[in-house]
Each structure stands twice: as C-alpha cells, then as structure tokens.
Symmetry: C2
Subunit: 149 residues, 2 copies
Amino acid sequence: MNHKYLDLAFKYAMKAYKSNEVPVGAVIVKDNKIIGWGYNQKEKNNCVLDHAEIIAIKKASKKINNWRLDGCDIYVTLDPCPMCASAIKQARIKNIYSALNNFDDKNSDLVRKLLKKDKTNPEVNIITNIEPLKSKKILNSFFAIKRDK
Amino acid sequence: MNHKYLDLAFKYAMKAYKSNEVPVGAVIVKDNKIIGWGYNQKEKNNCVLDHAEIIAIKKASKKINNWRLDGCDIYVTLDPCPMCASAIKQARIKNIYSALNNFDDKNSDLVRKLLKKDKTNPEVNIITNIEPLKSKKILNSFFAIKRDK
C-alpha cells in the first residue's frame, strides 16, 4: 500500500466530478508502476460498464497484453460495486485499497462474499476505509449539487 | 420468452466455440427487436471484461444511445457470472432467459442474491435451465477438447 496511488485515484475521481459523473477514481499498479487508471464515465459514454475500475482494468490488460493482472493492486476512492468486484477478481488482482466502504450495506456484504476464493479464482484482499472523510466529502458534495438542481 | 432468441444466442455461442473461447452467447431484445448480441471473446481481446453479456450490453446501449435498457430481455446460453449479473441489473434489464444454470453453485447463489432489488436498481427476473442439455453439450465438448490438448 502506497498512499500516493490513492491520491492519484482521488485526482481521477475529481475528473469524474468535473464531468458531472459520480466521482470515483481507480488506479492499477504492478511492480510499483501504474499500468491502468480510470474514472467513472457512465453518463458520458451512456453505458453502465464504464465505471472507474472497469476502465482501469481494460487499460491495464491492454498495457501488459494479458487479461491476467497477477500481482497487481487496485486503488479506488470507493469500494467496488459487485460488477467491478467480480471483474477485479476474474482479472486476478491481488489487493484492493479503498478509501471508503460502500454505503449500500447489502451490496457491501455481497462484495465481500464475491471476493472470496472460488473454483476458478483466488481470493482478493480488500483493505478499506483508508481515507473515508475525503471520499465522503467529494461524494456528498456531488450529490448535494445534484439534489439542488 | 421467445425461443428463437435463445437459438440465436446458441449461434453466437458456437462462434465463440470456433474461436477457441468458452462457448457462451447472449442476445438482448427490446420490443421484439434485437438491439445487442455478443459472444465470449476474453482470450482474443485479452480482457476479462469481454464476456458475451458485457459485449451485448455495450452494443445495446450504443444502439439506443442510453445506458438504461428498460424493458429489455437478455437471452444467454449459460447463467451470468456475478460481473455480468451486476451489469445486467445496473442496466435495468427486466428478464434473463438462460439455457443452463451455472455449475458453480457458490457463484450461482451469489448471482441470485445480486439480482434482487437494492437501493438503486429493481430486481431482475431469471428463468433458467430452459435448454440445459444443448448448453452442456457445447460446453462439455469445448472443455473435453481443451483437456485433450
């Protein structure tokens, strides 16, 4: 865990914020090198798939020309949704470092179960609530503006 | 439920088979029109994201220029994995018609939970094991060849 990558994930989250997207950012690191990054672009691209983590995985796989992101870590500003958690696991990413535990408890519980070892993939470790106040501040500010509109 | 769309999903599964990919196909239908389709291309594209359902969702969202696939059905030759199930739900697809229940019981149970209503998305109905023998035959043949190699 290196805090500078989480800081970078926050920079990407702010790019989402400025583009009027739910502000979430992600950075993928292998051997201390950034191989993928992304921020939420669901509204711009009009596609539910374009979460920060999915975009980062796509970039990382392309970068190393391999769907197996063995030995990689992903830094995220918010715990992944089930779609992203399952993608992270199938990509064999080793660790998730997350700034904030997902507020939706039901999905949070599912995500924990999802990340466990199964028939085809090893377990993904998740270390969460590393920087909850910063992440909450950005998300709350975003949703407050949305509500006011 | 219209069986011709499941037949078409099987045709796409066979395209995956012939390209040496785990043979799974998907078709998305809205108002009796096909708006998306896909087959597994994970190995070719070197990316865990390129499951049949994800490719079909991407196509459908582009086709109707909307991430909300309200009122759509998805026909699949195998129950979705958690990544695809969560994407289907977030895209607000109404029904999943699946030829075969997933053999991995642990994920199958998780997928059922995933498809239930949550804070942001309505429940997705799943009707499965519509044509299990055909789907199993294709999958078993594929994995038998893989084992022999």
